[in-house]
């Protein structure tokens, strides 16, 4: 089971790792990319949209601005037109007052308590009063009366124009005709009113208005009680005399109501300033932005207005508290831009300006960019929210995906590993018990695994069959093997015996080769013995009997000399070679010839034979004697006797040695047990047997160290020495040097046999130990020699090696002690 678990773990880990990393990573990357793209695109679109909206707003506002400006301009123009109309009418009037009638009948005039001459009742027209300061004469009265003619026109203008609240005329003599009718007009204004003090009069005069055109006033507080006004006034000249000023009043409120309360897109605000920056009309919102409150309403106090009360300086934009605002506005007014970005109190605006040509006023539109962008911001928020939702969803998806993958990979690994693990287990089982193994089907939808499983099962079936076959075969085989073993044992026994016989026959063959030599080795001592025995028997037969007579016949003086000679000869030792002896012989011969001794050469031979090589001074007297020759002969014979016995002894020894060597060589020891033996004895035995071959011209050099006895098979080792020495001699062709060295090295005895023959050629060095390999012609050697030698050495747990060069070949045998 551990196999299964281990594999599962490993496979699982592998698959998981790869699976997950290879799928999660790209997914994750893709998600990130998508998110980035989303937000990026979103931001891009937002920005684009914002710009678009801004552009649209700008365009729109421009359109509106120009439209409205046009509108205002138009309306103002209208009023200006009316003013000019009034101007021309009045001018006509003053030129020809009679031409004008009384449209509403005769008005009733009265003088008030405060001295004001005024029209008392409303007749559908305008109100009238004269300042108390004016003396009312007929002229004035007539003027008051006649100017009634303008009432319809005044009424028309006021009624038909929504912007117009009042129309009036003020004269130099402080007459005021005003439509709409003011009830109790005498009480409205200060009793003494000097028209020339008021801006709505003096701004049109010759000084301020030399062109005599329509003048628009700044905003002022209407003395007539209608609140903050602005008037379009025209001077009325009677030739070059300023009769008065006609004006059309437009309340700021009206403007605000009619013009400024436009339903503008983006909650834009429009406001009006005059060419100096004085605010003419401004909605509350803009007031908030610029941190000021429009004085639209003025609570008329009890104080009557005596001078123009204009709007305070606060209400000049260019004199605003906020420096930033001022700077921007100055720039705007100075330049020709019709749309700029404007910042006030931290808010960003679009500010558009349109100049109303009629009055030089500026119609300004203020659009809070935020409002423009509002939809965008909303969208942006929405997009961001969506984005967050998407992120959340993606995370959820991702987690879900991870879980899914984990599950999937687990399934996959199980799918793969289960059958494989099963196979692994099965194969392990198989190792233990082939017979009892059962095949389990383990289907998998992985082709390779399925294939493997099937093949494995097939293999198991086959193996089982094979196993069964094998068992059967084995049983049969065992029986057969037993039979064969028995046969082989017998054969082996035979072979061993044969081998032994072969070794023996090799021995015999070697021996056979030596027979002639050995025969000679025995014959030689035999020959020596025979001849010596012959010599002795001859002596006994011939010389012995004569001895007593000889000794008797010896004169006293010769006896000593003779016995001295005899003694000398009997003590002889043969030290010299034949060649050397010859030299002595010749020297003696000459010496004796000098002494005139007869047969000097013969005598010299005998003397030398007796071991007398020189110093014959003591002998000379004997030689010179008459029986000298006899004496020498007798001495010679006696010495010869000794020599003969010695020879017999030597020869016997030699013969025995050879026989012994032969015996030990030919021995066929079947005991099969090792014995303690002296290796050198064996070597010497062989050398003895080969003596005859050796004496032909082989010098033996022996180098024996003190060797301990060795447990060995001595007879078999003799075979070894024989073969090696034989090979060496043959190699040297029985002429040369044979060196035998015996040493101890650690735990082995080393025997080196060296010859100075031509050596073993390199190409056959490998083969010499092969059985039946020989360099001799057929019939002249079995070729088994070295093979047998090697086997014998192996039997001794020893080693045989050789080195060979021209002139030196050494075989080294090492035997463990």
């Amino acid at each position: 089971m551990t196999n299964n678990q281990m594999m599962k773990k490993t496979l699982n880990a592998i698959i998981n790792r790869h699976f997950l990393s290879s799928s999660l990573t790209p997914v994750f990357t893709v998600e990130l990319v998508l998110l980035a793209l989303y937000f990026g695109i979103s931001a891009f679109i937002t920005t684009k949209t914002m710009n678009m909206l801004l552009d649209e707003a700008k365009q729109n506002i421009r359109e509106i601005s120009s439209r409205e400006a046009q509108n205002i301009n138009q309306q103002l123009k209208e009023i200006s037109t009316f003013a000019r109309l009034l101007q021309s009418e009045h001018q006509m009037f003053f030129e020809n007052p009679e031409s004008f009638g009384l449209p509403y009948g005769t008005p009733e005039f009265s003088v008030a308590d405060n001295g004001v001459f005024y029209k008392t009742t409303y007749n559908g027209g305008s109100s009238l009063y004269y300042s108390s300061t004016t003396k009312i004469t007929d002229k004035e009265h007539q003027k008051a009366l006649k100017t009634e003619a303008f009432d319809p026109l005044f009424k028309d203008i006021v009624t038909n124009n929504p912007n117009v609240v009042q129309v009036y005329i003020n004269t130099y003599d402080d007459m005021n005709r005003l439509y709409p009718f003011i009830e109790d007009v005498q009480k409205q204004f200060p009793a003494s009113t000097n028209m020339e003090d008021f801006n709505f009069y003096y701004e049109a005069d010759a000084k301020h208005n030399p062109t005599r055109g329509v003048v628009w006033t700044d905003a002022y507080l209407d003395p007539a009680g209608k609140g903050w006004m602005m008037s379009g006034i025209v001077p009325i000249y009677n030739k070059d005399f300023l009769e008065g000023v006609t004006g059309i009043d437009v309340t700021i409120e009206k403007f605000v109501d009619n013009i400024l309360k436009l339903d503008l897109p983006w909650q834009a605000s429009a406001f009006l300033v005059n060419k100096d920056g004085m605010i003419l009309a401004m909605p509350e919102k803009v007031e908030d932005y610029l941190n000021l409150k429009e004085l639209k309403a003025h609570a008329y106090g009890d104080d009557k207005l005596t001078t123009t009360i204009k709007k305070p300086e606060e209400f000049n934009l260019l004199k605003n508290q906020d420096e930033e605002v001022v700077a921007q506005l100055q720039k705007l007014f100075a330049g020709h831009a019709d749309m700029v970005d404007f910042t006030a109190r931290g808010n960003n605006f679009l500010l558009s300006q349109e100049i109303i040509q009629e009055t030089g006023w500026r119609l300004l539109f203020l659009v809070d960019k935020e409002i423009v962008f509002e939809p965008v911001f909303e969208l942006k928020q929405l997009a961001r929210k969506i984005g967050y939702v998407v992120i959340f969803l993606m995370i959820v998806f991702y987690l879900g995906f991870v879980l899914y993958l984990v599950k999937k990979s687990h399934n996959l690994s199980t799918k793969i590993s289960a059958p494989i693990a099963n196979l692994a287990n099965l194969s392990s089982e198989m190792v233990d018990n082939m017979e009892t193994i059962e095949i389990k089907r383990m289907d998998s939808d992985i082709e390779e695994v399925s294939q493997l499983s099937n093949n494995f099962n097939t293999m198991v079936i086959h193996l089982k069959q094979l196993f069964a076959n094998l068992e059967e075969a084995r049983n049969t085989l065992e029986i057969k093997v037993e039979e064969r073993t028995h046969e082989l044992k017998e054969a082996l026994e035979n072979l061993k015996r044969t081998q032994q016989e072969l070794v023996q026959s090799e021995k015999m063959a070697a021996l056979g080769q030596l027979v002639a030599g050995i025969a000679h080795e025995i014959n030689t001592p035999l020959g020596a013995i025979r001849s010596s025995v012959g010599n002795i028997s001859k002596f006994v037969e011939q010389t012995l009997g004569q001895l007593p007579a000889f000794f008797d016949s010896l004169p006293k003086e010769q006896k000593q000399g003779f016995f001295a000679l005899l003694q000398r000869s009997l003590q002889q030792e043969t030290l010299f070679s034949v060649k050397e002896e010859r030299k002595f012989k010749r020297a003696l011969t000459r010496q004796m010839e000098q002494h005139d001794i007869k047969n000097a050469a013969t005598i010299a031979t005998k003397l030398v034979s007796m071991g007398i090589y020189d110093n014959i001074d003591t002998v000379l007297p004997l030689l010179k004697a008459s029986n000298g020759a006899d004496m020498i002969q007798t001495a010679y014979k006696l010495s010869g006797l000794q020599k003969s016995t010695q020879n017999i002894s030597i020869a016997t020894d030699r013969a025995s040695k050879v026989v012994f060597a032969l015996k030990s060589f030919a021995r066929f020891d079947t005991s099969g047990e090792k014995v303690q033996a002296t290796l050198i004895d064996g070597i010497e035995t062989v050398l003895t047997l080969y003596h005859n071959q050796l004496k032909q011209g082989v010098e033996i050099i022996r180098n024996y160290a003190q060797l301990p006895q060795v447990m060995c098979y001595p007879d078999e080792l003799n075979q070894v020495w024989t073969n090696l020495i034989h090979n060496a001699l043959q190699a040297m062709n029985y002429k040369g040097t044979l060196e035998i060295e015996a040493t101890i090295e650690k735990t082995d005895v080393l025997i080196n046999i060296t010859d100075n023959g031509p050596g073993i050629p390199d190409d056959i060095k490998q083969k010499i130990f092969e059985p039946f390999f020989t360099t001799k012609p057929p019939g002249e050697g079995s070729g088994l020699g070295l093979d047998i030698v090697r086997k014998i050495i192996e039997k001794h747990e020893g080693k045989i090696t050789f080195t060979s060069t021209l002139g030196k070949t050494t075989f080294t045998v090492s035997i463990p002690i």
Binding site: A516, G517, A519, H520, N523, T524, P525, L526, G527, A528, R530, S531, S532, G534, N535, K538, T574, S577, V578, K579, E581, R582, N599, A601, T602, T605, K606, S609, Y636, G640, K643, S644, N647, I650, A651, N692, K695, Q696, G697, K735
Partner: protein, 131 residues
């Protein structure tokens, strides 16, 4: 008067000793007896003897000797001194060698070791008579 020499050649000292006694016994002082231990020495000796004015009448030689074998020696000797009684006295002689000695050296006889004294002496006498 040049004395006749009987030359014995053998690498075994004991053989030479034996031969000396046997020959002395048989021929006494009639001949001078000279000995060599190998063929080279023998040839040298023959030169010396010739210089000294001695002549060889009999040569008894072994066959198996170190260096030049007996048959070769006798063949050489025969070339120089055809009138010498040549006897091959050998323990083991190659058949071919004996044949050669007989053919080319005209040996009188080949005697095998161990030899009997009588045989040897008789052979020599016979050889000498032939001369």
């Amino acid at each position: 008067m040049s004395q006749a020499v009987i030359l014995c050649v053998d690498d075994e000292r004991v053989i030479l000793d034996s031969l000396e006694r046997q020959l002395e016994d048989a021929f006494g002082d009639d001949y001078l007896y000279e000995f060599a231990e190998n063929a080279e020495d023998a040839l040298e000796l023959i030169e010396e003897l010739t210089d000294e004015g001695l002549h060889i009448v009999v040569i008894v030689s072994d066959w198996l000797m170190p260096g030049i074998k007996g048959d070769e020696l006798l063949v050489r000797l025969h070339k120089k001194f055809p009138k010498v009684v040549k006897i091959l006295l050998s323990g083991q002689a190659d058949k071919a060698a004996i044949e050669r000695a007989k053919q080319q050296a005209k040996i009188h006889r080949c005697i095998y070791k161990p030899w009997s004294e009588e045989e040897l002496v008789e052979t020599i006498r016979q050889g000498l008579e032939k001369l």
